[in-house]
């Protein structure tokens, strides 16, 4: 159990973590989600006692990290897989850590076998590939058979096989009753692994709820309708009590209605349609809406200065960002917003953004 209470970290004038309250419970994978620079790593470093909080506190099973009897027996962490002395062999690196907690050599061998580094265990870790380095970091995290494991962006830069391996590992660790706390800036990754979400943006906790709750609260769907006689059709659809939003490209977005209802209605009015598409907002989109005002580094954009000043950024500027989402700021964001794939600059862009492609992605 990790418990943060009003956890705050200030670097000079910048609040990296602002009064964060959250807890991470055993037996499930808790995703720690936020854009780059949101304070995820800082929070994790404070959990491990590497950085000292400016205010507030965070405890592990009720005590601060540095008071744990044998920290590796209780918490295994992979914050930065590169944080090893490259001149030391993988085996010796793990041995150094094992000795620091009075763990036997047999543990070193056990975790080396577990992560599949046996063939390179006697090689210096400086020459390791990213994937091997990540495995070494995970071996270190599991060295003490800890009840809590923490991973900071564990799949970054890994190949698909490595990603799948880490996903399954996290699920298995949680299924064994361990507390699994994993950070990511990719909603799509969290959707596949996390049971619970803690969302952070600009240092503030924006959501702390189960994945199911998050989806229920944050997902929106609508039907995109295109018709050559839209000027007649739109008022009639609105007349049925559905919310109709006109789009600049002469389509309309109809909320609260199913495609078949709209098709039937158009037929009943004697209209014909050129498009009738159900658009699901992805979790990615929901996450971006949530953190819209809380992205630290926006790529330069003409409109961006507007929605950012003033009080509650989550609400303000939402409409603005539906046209220019903060996705621009984070090239790695994953699934693009389907609603925008075709409308942003007129060119449809890669089809990854279409609802069909999204479904395939989810089906994995």
């Amino acid at each position: 159990m990790i418990q943060a209470t009003a956890l705050t970290k200030r670097y000079g004038p910048r609040l990296a973590v602002d009064q964060a309250d959250f807890s991470v419970a055993p037996g499930k994978v808790t995703g720690f989600l936020g854009p780059n620079g949101a304070g995820k790593s800082t929070t994790m470093r404070m959990i491990l006692g590497l950085d000292h909080p400016t205010a507030g506190a965070v405890t592990i099973n009720g005590v601060p990290y540095h008071r744990l009897a044998a920290p590796l027996r209780e918490v295994g962490a992979l914050l930065d897989a590169q944080a090893v002395h490259g001149g030391r062999t993988a085996y010796n690196h793990l041995l150094v850590l094992a000795k620091a907690n009075g763990l036997p050599r047999s543990r070193v061998e056990a975790v080396i076998d577990l992560v599949g580094l046996h063939s390179v265990a006697r090689k210096r870790s400086g020459g390791f590939s990213l994937g091997m380095g990540q495995r070494l970091g995970i071996a270190a995290a599991l060295l003490g058979d800890p009840g809590i494991v923490m991973f900071d962006e564990p799949v970054n830069g890994l190949d698909p096989e490595g990603i799948l391996w880490i996903r399954n590992l996290m699920k298995a660790l949680a299924a064994e009753g361990r507390t699994v706390f994993v950070s990511s800036h990719l909603m799509s990754e969290m959707a596949l692994t996390a049971d619970h979400l803690v969302v952070i943006g600009l240092g503030r906790i924006l959501a702390d709820e189960s994945m199911a709750e998050f989806i229920a609260k944050n997902s929106v769907s609508y039907v995109r309708v295109r018709s050559p006689r839209m000027s007649e059709l739109a008022p009639r659809l609105a007349g049925r009590g559905w919310r109709v939003d006109r789009q600049p490209d002469d389509s309309v977005h109809v909320y609260d209605a199913k495609p078949e209802q709209i098709g039937d209605a158009a037929g009943a009015e004697g209209m014909w349609l050129h498009e009738l598409t159900l658009v699901q907002s992805s979790l990615e989109e929901a996450f971006m809406r949530l953190t819209a005002g809380a992205v630290e580094y926006h790529a330069g954009g003409l409109e961006q200065a507007q929605g950012e000043q003033g009080g509650s950024p989550q609400q303000q500027g939402t409409r603005e960002r539906r046209r220019r989402p903060p996705r621009d700021a984070v090239p790695n964001w994953g699934t693009p917003d389907p609603a925008q794939a075709g409308t942003r600059d007129g060119s449809a862009g890669p089809q990854a953004g279409t609802p069909d492609a999204q479904n395939q992605e989810r089906a994995q």
Binding site: A25, P26, G27, K28, V29, R45, L48, G49, L50, D51, H66, A69, A70, L72, E74, V75, A77, Q82, A83, V84, H85, G86, G87, R88, H93, L95, V96, L97, A100, N101, G102, R107, A110, D113, L114, L142, D145, G147, N168, L169, K171, A172, L173, A175, E176, G177, R178, A191, L192, T193, A194, D195, S210, M211, I215, S219, S221, S282, N359, R362
Partner: protein
């Protein structure tokens, strides 16, 4: 088309939150279906509180498992002994051309003259044991495994001191065995039972160790290998040159307390420093300790309070 992103299936796990103790002690339930990848690693032993002993074990495993330790110590040994022997051989070969004053200045500090250079390399080892952890990020990993910073600091300091002390003893006696015959054959009294000769020889490992600890302090303070090594070179080689230029007796007094001359004072039995009497051996020792403390005390305070 109509199905949406769903949360992953809730994982099968005991709904009852486990206590910390059972979490570690009991073998956790295997996940339903598939092979449990972590089950093989379960550790049954009870948790013992980590102490200074674990920190020492870990730090000595650390210093043994990187090549830089071996290389710096070897280079320091070769440099110290080699230059000592070289100077001794050249001195001996040119004995007739040496003035009586210079001849009278020969003592144990001449026998181990190479240490003047070798000390820098053990100092670099002191820097590296800390700065390499910062530059690689290993320090964060180390502190995660052993978060009691004061204890970790003490263990690292002690391990370095012991290693350098042992190698320093080897350097001292190897230098003595190989270079003292060049002096004794010209009548220089170097027997270890005589005067302060044994004390002067044993000052070698002490001097090397204290300078290595100064390097360690600089490593913590600057957390950057190049910066810390440069500072160490400045302290050992540049400051003495500057103080040499200071005029009058004040200049001479300041010159006496720079680290290299304070170290020499411990190894001198009767010779002079550039014509001036050095500090007493004890005075040199105290001056060196103060130098080390000036670096290590702030290093300790910063290490404990700084974000890693």
């Amino acid at each position: 088309m109509s199905d949406r992103v769903d949360a992953p299936e809730p994982l099968q796990n005991p709904a009852t939150p486990q206590t910390v103790a059972t979490m570690h002690d009991a073998v956790g339930p295997a996940p339903a279906g598939g092979q449990p990848p972590t089950r093989a690693i379960h550790l049954g032993a009870p948790i013992r509180h980590i102490t200074f002993r674990e920190a020492m074990d870990s730090e000595s495993a650390k210093i043994r498992s990187v090549r830089s330790t071996f290389w710096t110590l070897l280079v320091s040994l070769l440099l110290s002994v080699g230059i000592s022997v070289l100077i001794a051989a050249v001195t001996s070969a040119n004995w007739d051309t040496i003035s009586p004053t210079e001849r009278a200045n020969m003592d144990m500090s001449s026998v181990v003259a190479g240490v003047y250079f070798g000390v820098l390399v053990t100092g670099v080892l002191g820097v590296l044991v800390v700065s390499s952890e910062y530059s690689t990020g290993m320090m964060r990993t180390s502190l995660t495994a052993f978060p009691r910073r004061g204890t970790l600091f003490a263990a690292k300091t002690l391990v370095l001191a012991v290693v350098v002390l042992v190698v320093g003893l080897i350097i001292a006696f190897a230098s003595y065995l190989l270079s003292s015959p060049f002096y004794t054959k010209h009548g220089v009294e170097l027997s270890l039972g005589h005067g302060g000769n044994l004390r002067a020889l044993l000052a070698v490992p002490v001097y090397l160790t204290i300078v290595a600890l100064m390097g360690l302090g600089l490593g913590y303070l600057l957390r950057h290998t190049a910066a810390a090594i440069s500072s160490l070179v400045g302290l050992m080689f540049v400051i003495p040159i500057i103080t040499n230029f200071l005029p009058g007796s004040i200049g001479k007094d300041i010159n006496k307390i720079v680290p290299s001359n304070a170290g020499s004072a411990m190894m001198i039995t009767h010779s002079t420093l550039n014509g001036a009497p050095p500090l007493s051996p004890l005075g040199g020792f105290v001056a060196l300790l103060i130098w080390a403390a000036v670096l290590i005390v702030p290093a300790f305070v910063l290490f404990r309070h700084r974000d890693a």
